[in-house]
């Protein structure tokens, strides 16, 4: 039986709807001209490096079809890497190579593929198959994340990433997205990944949700979510807030991964972050965004904003 929630209840919970997000936040605080920096991952990476925000190392860029002939030489010396469309969206078109086996490369799923097949993937990427609006694109080859062992077990066949919604420089809500077998190694909640709500003050789990239902343990690995404590939490909040300053976008989704050696790294930014984070946190964004707006009016100081965010949004 299909059940609906009443609009009054949604308002009471402070759930942010798609229409209000588009008009009152994205439309109002995200100037169109700043989108490019976010939609093009190469530009994001460059800006991040300029602002001392750590990002995965860039091995190379493929801009033209002819460059694919020299692909083998370009990849020489790298055993693991990820190939991404520069303007991809929603994790589309990302090819992760974790090692080599004789002449072939090994994908994260264990399947072996040849250099030609990687070339074909890049051809599609250049033609815009994976990109926003099907525009011609560039392919970037970047270093693999060697993910932090303390998060081991929370993700299956994929790296967990941390999504922070930052509004006017204030981290408002956060979640960790853990891939599962049913999400096919992808970190998208609607494909079956687990979303773990995180306490803004501490980086501890406040609850985990898969397919909209609360779950206690990871369905594949059995890891207990209530024991989750994301390390380097203060660095993560600091990084998210700095991204807002870097992009000039008021309402921003910041995707962060934890690297074993380098700590939190910026993976990508999103000018139209989704609403699923509210389900993972079992809490609405609207009240928090209203408080964040007040904080932003009170102070311009980076550290004070984060401190106030921790104070207001930490008490779950």
């Amino acid at each position: 039986m299909m059940k609906f929630i009443s609009p009054a209840k949604l308002t009471e919970l402070g759930i942010l709807g798609m229409n209000r997000r588009n008009i009152s936040f994205i439309g109002q605080y995200n100037p169109r001209r700043n989108y490019r920096l976010v939609d093009d991952k190469l530009l994001t990476k460059k800006a991040a490096i300029d602002n001392d925000i750590p990002v995965p190392q860039l091995y190379g860029i493929v801009e033209r079809q002819q460059q694919i002939n020299g692909l083998a030489a370009m990849l020489a010396g790298y055993d693991g890497f990820a190939i991404k469309p520069s303007q991809g969206s929603g994790g589309k078109g990302i090819l992760v190579i974790t090692g080599r086996k004789e002449d072939c490369f090994v994908k994260s799923s264990g399947v072996e593929i040849s250099t030609e097949e990687i070339g074909r993937h890049i051809t599609n990427t250049l033609a815009g198959l994976h990109s926003l609006g099907g525009r011609n694109d560039r392919a970037m080859i970047e270093a693999l994340i060697s993910f932090d062992p303390c998060l081991e077990g929370y993700s299956y066949e994929g790296i967990p990433d941390i999504r922070v919604i930052a509004f006017k420089g204030i981290p408002v809500m956060a979640m960790m997205r853990c891939a599962t077998h049913s999400s096919d190694g992808k970190a998208n909640l609607h494909q079956g990944a687990v979303g773990v709500g995180l306490n803004i003050a501490t980086g501890r789990s406040v609850g985990a949700v898969q397919h909209g239902q609360l779950v206690e343990v990871h369905p594949d690995t059995g890891a207990i979510f209530s024991e989750l404590q994301v390390p380097h939490w203060d660095n993560i909040l600091d990084l998210a807030a700095r991204c807002v300053e870097m992009t000039g976008l008021g309402y921003l989704g910041v995707d962060i991964v934890l690297d074993r050696n380098f700590g939190p790294m910026l993976l990508e930014l999103n000018a139209r972050p989704g609403l699923a984070i509210q389900v993972a946190n079992q809490s609405g964004l609207r009240h928090r965004l209203a408080i964040a707006l007040k904080i932003a009016e009170q102070t311009d100081d980076h550290d004070t904003k984060i401190a106030l965010a921790k104070e207001h949004f930490g008490g779950q």
Binding site: S6, L13, G17, N19, R20, L129, Q191, G212, Q213, Q282
Partner: protein
């Protein structure tokens, strides 16, 4: 935050009030009916006179139609670029006269009129013309005498005489004399008929007019015969011999005067483009009485050329479909493949009708997806791939049309109304969606698109909606206002009430 919203509110309010105000004005003051009610078939006849000039001054005379046999002329427009133009009176008939000192290139002149048939009456009584005895060769005389003799025996009066004559002349094998006369005159059949009738001493003359056919272009003038049976005039169709005015025959002129006469030109021709519109009876009356008194009517869609009127009939329905799309996306939250693809599909449905349209669409997209999956193995560049899909779609349409036509299903011929490029993009998008998100998402978005298209089609095919959009284009302002307001709607979508349903049990 409040300011822009209030701003939009004011603009939308003004638009809606303006739309309602103009609509009410038209309906109350000008008497346009808000409900469809009784319809009249109003024909727009566009006459096209083509002339190739010779040396010297050019004069083109066109006899204008009078209100005959229940036909009422509503409006007339003349186009005369570079010509002097007057309407003169010539023995009681109106003649449009275009004049020019010299002309160096072939030219076309236009005369457009709108007319409807107030009542199905026969031609009015008129003076009986004198009968001119035809001049005949000896063998023609003999044939004429024999033919008239036989027809006199078989007929009961002038009308049936003329009717029989028409059939004899049509089916030449029936009567050798009739076929001989037709051959020796080397003239149009109705002219031979007039000669025979004159020989038999029956008053008769020609009636010229246009056989009306909706959407017909390059129609030429056709002729009927009318005979006087002693008390009234009876019209005879020289093709069939049937008496009475054929349905849909617009009477242009009675008598033998030529309709078009050109001096200073050659190869002149007169052709007609015809369009039929169903207009509410009261609107028609309004047009008749007030067409020149109110600027609003002068600037209405009825003042446009015929073909554009037909275009606008369709175009004015699009805002309704757009409103449906906005409601379904903003208020309901339905996902569609491409924002306005459903509107284009709905427009195609208007031509194909709903069920055949749905069937054709699903067949085209499914087969297209299947073929597209081969293309995806070929590793083509994006533009080539989509172009290939476009070509495949055209082939599919042709195959579908031919196969179903052979099988006797005429409905499938309407397949050509589907926008090819949109279909190609839909197939391409669905195919990528399939690879990335799986079949479920394809069915969800495809189903959503078809649902919105169906709703838009249903809304557009309501007779009241068609009536209102075409007769009260001002109402589009109201739609615009509502769409602007919906563009500022920040409430929840219906689907979000489902999406966040589990949060209801929190605490």
């Amino acid at each position: 935050m409040a300011t822009p919203k209030v701003h939009i509110g004011v603009i939308a309010g003004v638009l809606i009030l303006l739309g309602i105000g103009l609509t009410l004005y038209k309906s109350i003051v000008l008497g346009f009916p808000l409900l469809p009610g009784k319809y009249r078939e109003v024909w727009t006849i566009e006459s096209k006179i083509s002339i190739t000039p010779t040396e010297g001054p050019v004069e083109v005379d066109l006899r204008l139609p009078e209100d005959l046999a229940g036909w009422v002329v509503l409006e007339e427009h003349f186009a005369s670029s570079g010509f002097g133009f007057t309407v003169v009176d010539d023995k009681g008939a109106r003649v449009a006269r275009w004049t020019r000192q010299a002309l160096d290139a072939p030219t076309t002149l236009y005369y457009k009129l709108q007319t409807y048939r107030l009542q199905e009456s026969e031609l009015e009584d008129a003076a009986i013309p004198d009968i001119e005895e035809p001049m005949l060769e000896a063998d023609q005389l003999a044939a004429m005498e024999r033919l008239v003799g036989i027809l006199r025996e078989q007929s009961s009066g002038p009308a049936s005489f003329a009717g029989l004559l028409a059939t004899q002349l049509t089916d030449e094998s029936q009567n050798l004399d009739a076929s001989f006369l037709l051959g020796s005159y080397e003239d149009a059949k109705h002219l031979v008929m007039l000669e025979v009738l004159a020989f038999a001493g029956i008053p008769a003359r020609e009636v010229r007019g246009i056989q009306l056919q909706d959407g017909r272009r390059r129609q030429t003038m056709s002729s009927l015969i009318e005979v006087y049976n002693g008390s009234s005039w009876v019209t005879i169709d020289p093709g069939t011999g049937a008496s009475g005015l054929p349905t849909g025959f617009f009477v242009w002129e009675r008598g033998d005067e030529s309709v078009l006469s050109v001096s200073g030109g050659r190869n002149s021709s007169l052709e007609f483009a015809l369009v039929e519109n169903s207009l509410p009876a009261r609107t028609v009356v309004g047009m008749e009485q007030r067409s020149h008194d109110y600027a609003l009517l002068d600037f209405s869609i009825y003042s446009l050329p015929v073909e554009q009127q037909g275009m606008f009939k369709g175009l004015l329905l699009i805002p309704v479909a757009a409103l449906i799309v906005v409601i379904m996306r903003v208020l309901v939250g339905l996902k569609t493949s491409g924002t306005f693809m459903p509107i284009l599909i709905a427009l195609a449905f208007l031509q194909t009708k709903l069920l055949p349209g749905l069937a054709i669409f699903i067949i085209l997209v499914s087969v297209g997806l299947w073929i597209r999956s081969w293309l995806s193995h070929m590793n083509l560049l994006l533009v080539s791939r989509i172009s290939a899909v476009v070509i495949v779609v055209i082939f599919l349409m042709a195959v579908l049309a031919i196969v179903s036509y052979r099988a006797g299903v005429d409905q499938a011929l309407t397949v050509t109304f589907f926008p090819i490029i949109i279909l190609a993009w839909t197939i391409e998008r669905m195919s990528i969606l399939w690879e990335e998100e799986g079949v479920k998402e394809v069915l969800r978005q495809g189903g959503g698109s078809l649902l919105v298209a169906t709703l838009a089609y249903l809304a557009m095919s309501i007779p009241l909606v068609e009536h209102l959009t075409f007769n009260f284009p001002e109402m589009t302002l109201c739609l615009l206002g509502v769409i602007l307001l919906l563009g500022k709607y920040t409430g929840y979508r219906l689907f979000e009430l489902y999406r966040f349903r589990d949060l209801a049990f929190k605490e």
